[in-house]
């Protein structure tokens, strides 16, 4: 609990990384020997390795640069190409558990839309999404864009229970599901909604999620019926499942932290003013990479021990 902070501060991050990598490396060698003896290791050791390889890059940050893949680029370009004052809806369809993975996307989208002076409508299909929505508003809107005004540049509809049912209603009528915004202001007296009756009147819908209800529901209930372009930021887990919808039913897709990192780097490329802001996506790629390598190693080791033991059995 009292791990001496100054000590860590003194040790340069390179030393820290090399130490921890050394640890992991040695451990791997030890495991290799074991597997050559056809012995499996206890899963707790596997857990330990993951823990080290993830926490090391957090304590001693390392970042890699990212180039956007077409799926990400397409969505970025869409937001970029829309004229100012376009109506963009951003839906926070995730919960705290998923937040570390997808909230960076939400922030990046919000940032981008604000920089392009789009009119943004925030909502959430998840009860728990509401407070995460508040977080983004606090972190991005209020601090980075103090000049933006609620009701004129953006509006927060918040959460309504009913999962895909909510979409079922707003696809033809916002006011029926959201008589008021989150601050109990009737939609009729909110400037952004003068021209918006249903989802048909939106220029772009971005759903950020990773569960149900989520992107799939947006595509099924809103995208297909209204042909409104839909972009998505999703937890890596659901991304492959959404590929069938891309590009016909889904405009573009940010898959997991990598997607977020790619979007962030692209954003910085176009808007140098965001050089300074925190880019969790890029920041998280370090641990990602290490953990991936460790897991890859585990797969190899697992197979080595498997084959060795099988050879012994056949002998």
């Amino acid at each position: 609990m009292f791990t001496p902070a100054p000590l860590l501060a003194l040790s340069s991050s390179t030393i820290g990384v090399s130490i921890s990598l050394g640890l992991v490396g040695l451990g791997m060698v030890w495991m290799l020997i074991r597997s050559l003896r056809a012995r499996d290791v206890d899963r707790r050791i596997v857990f330990l390795f993951i823990f080290i390889s993830v926490s090391a890059p957090i304590l001693f940050p390392i970042t890699f640069s990212e180039t956007p893949t077409p799926v990400v680029k397409k969505l970025f370009d869409k937001v970029e190409s829309l004229p100012a004052d376009s109506k963009v809806l951003i839906s926070f369809d995730f919960d705290p558990a998923m937040a570390p993975e997808v909230q960076p996307m939400a922030d990046a989208f919000t940032r981008h839309c604000m920089a392009k002076n789009h009119k943004v409508i925030f909502m959430s299909l998840w009860a728990t999404g509401q407070s995460l929505l508040n977080q983004t508003m606090r972190a991005v809107l209020v601090t980075e864009f103090p000049e933006k005004r609620d009701g004129i540049d953006y509006v927060e509809l918040g959460y309504k229970a009913g999962n895909e049912g909510v979409l079922n209603v707003i696809v033809s009528n916002f006011r029926k599901m959201f008589p008021t915004d989150v601050n109990s202001i009737p939609l009729d007296s909110i400037e952004i909604f003068d021209k918006i009756k249903s989802c048909r009147d939106l220029d772009l819908i971005i759903s950020i999620g990773g569960g149900k209800p989520g992107i799939k529901e947006w595509v099924l209930f809103v995208g297909d019926p209204t042909k409104t372009p839909i972009g998505a930021g999703v937890a890596a887990v659901v991304a492959p499942q959404l590929y069938p919808y891309y590009p016909k039913q889904l405009l573009g897709l940010l898959g997991g932290v990598k997607g977020a990192a790619e979007y962030e780097s692209e954003l910085v490329r176009h808007y140098p003013q965001f050089e300074e802001v925190d880019k969790p996506g890029l920041r998280m790629m370090g641990p990602q990479t290490f953990a991936h390598v460790v897991i890859l190693a585990f797969i190899v080791l697992g197979n080595i021990s498997f084959f060795v033991s099988r050879r012994r059995a056949s002998r």
């Binding site: 004052d85 009729d188 009756k197 569960g211």
Partner: protein, 409 residues
């Protein structure tokens, strides 16, 4: 002489600022010349008609983008659609479209109270205005109208859907009838199901309970409904072998149904005495809290077999790995595509997607269910044929074929 001097002064006065402007910020020519934006050409042949397949209160428009949109002067940044209920105005703004757009749907409110109310069977007149960066510089199309909005009684845009629904209903009912009339319908064996029986046997030998997880689906989810049947079968066997059964539930309604199912199963097995209320219990309706509880149960009760059937989300792997840790045999089945991989990797047997539904039919061994299963198979055959035809059509350039499947709005 005086005159020339005067002119010279004017030139100096007027000229300098402009020249100076041009000199120190040559690249900022935009604001300078936007003061005199050339007027763009208006959008061409505007047409307006009642929006098809809707409940009225809406008119659709289309137009040819102004020649200066993108091309030409290229200074058109969008279009505003104006509406009036009389040819001579006043015209009200009914919506904006970005540059490049060539159509707009003007949707009004159904409620007369609303200021945005749009009456049916009333003449409306429309104008489309091409706008530039300078709000004073724009070009309006010729007025179109009168046009009336009215509701349709049938949504022709969705005919393909209707056709499929009807066809599918037809074959389903046909096969169900066939099954009822005693025709023996073959259904191939499903490894997963065989495994269930073995697993129950194993549990009996070990004298350990069986953990049955219905997943996170609501009582109405198809996967859950399919899972009930399997649960019924499992419970019956368990009742016969007198093994323990644990069914922690996520959804209160699902729980009530599960209780009924298990109770009935025990009665069918002729041991209503062995049934007790606590076998099926409610945990909580929150994903990870539920998982936390089930994980605990796994490590404390050490069930011989874990059966996961129904809707599962991120928790799939948490459950499956914890189960493996507890050394249980695991059989899973879900229609949640994203989660199948984890079950396939971590469990001993997995019913992949549709197999879950098939399993319930297979176990129910009911002619009705088998019949509908047959119907599905024929539908699949139809898909394969359609796909082949479609691909051929695509390759010989008969794109019309694809349009048969096009569902407008």
């Amino acid at each position: 002489m005086k005159l020339t001097f005067l002119i010279a002064c004017c030139v100096l006065f007027l000229g300098f600022p402009v020249a100076g402007f041009a000199q120190d910020t040559p690249e900022e020519a935009q604001p300078a010349d936007s003061i005199t934006t050339p007027i763009p050409a208006p959008p061409g042949n505007v047409t307006a008609w009642d929006t098809e397949n809707d409940h009225g209160h809406s008119v659709s428009l289309s137009w040819e983008p102004s020649p200066d949109d993108g091309t030409g002067l290229g200074n058109v940044i969008g279009y505003i659609v104006f509406r009036s209920d009389s040819p001579d105005g006043p015209f009200v703004d009914r919506g904006v479209q970005p540059a490049g757009a060539s159509g707009h749907t003007d949707v009004g409110s159904k409620e007369e109270a609303s200021q945005d109310y749009m009456a049916d069977y009333v003449d409306y007149y429309y104008k489309v205005r091409a706008i530039t960066a300078d709000s004073l510089v724009f070009a309006e199309s010729v007025m179109v109208g009168p046009v009336q909005s009215y509701g349709q009684w049938f949504n022709t845009g969705r005919i393909p859907v209707l056709v499929f629904v009807l066809c599918f209903m037809a074959i389903t009912i046909f096969f169900i009838q066939k099954a009822k009339s005693g025709a023996n319908l073959f259904v191939r064996r499903l490894a997963g199901i065989e495994a269930v029986d073995e697993a129950i046997g194993r549990a009996t030998e070990m004298g350990k309970p069986i953990l049955y997880v219905l997943g996170l689906g609501t009582a109405a989810d198809i996967a859950t409904i399919a899972s009930y049947t399997i649960l019924g079968r499992v419970a019956k066997k368990i009742a016969e072998y007198q093994t323990g059964l644990i069914v922690p539930c996520y959804d209160p309604i699902t729980m009530t149904v599960a209780q009924e199912t298990v109770k009935t199963a025990y009665m069918d097995a002729g041991r209503p005495d062995a049934y007790n209320e606590d076998m099926v219990y409610f945990v909580t309706q929150s994903q990870f809290a539920y998982v936390a509880a089930v994980n605990g149960t796994m490590l404390r009760e050490r069930p011989a077999t874990n059966i996961y059937m129904g809707k599962f989300y991120a928790e799939s792997l948490i459950l499956a790995e914890t189960g493996a840790l507890a050394g249980s045999i695991q059989i899973a089945g879900t229609d949640e595509i994203a989660q199948i991989p984890f079950f396939v990797v971590a469990c001993d047997y997995t019913l992949i997607g549709e197999e879950l539904y098939a399993a319930s039919a297979y176990l129910g061994r009911e002619p009705l269910l088998l019949g509908s299963l047959k119907a599905q198979d024929y539908a699949k055959a139809a898909v394969i044929i359609l796909a082949i035809l479609g691909v051929i059509a695509m390759n010989v350039g008969l794109d019309g074929f694809k349009d048969l499947f096009y569902i407008s709005n």
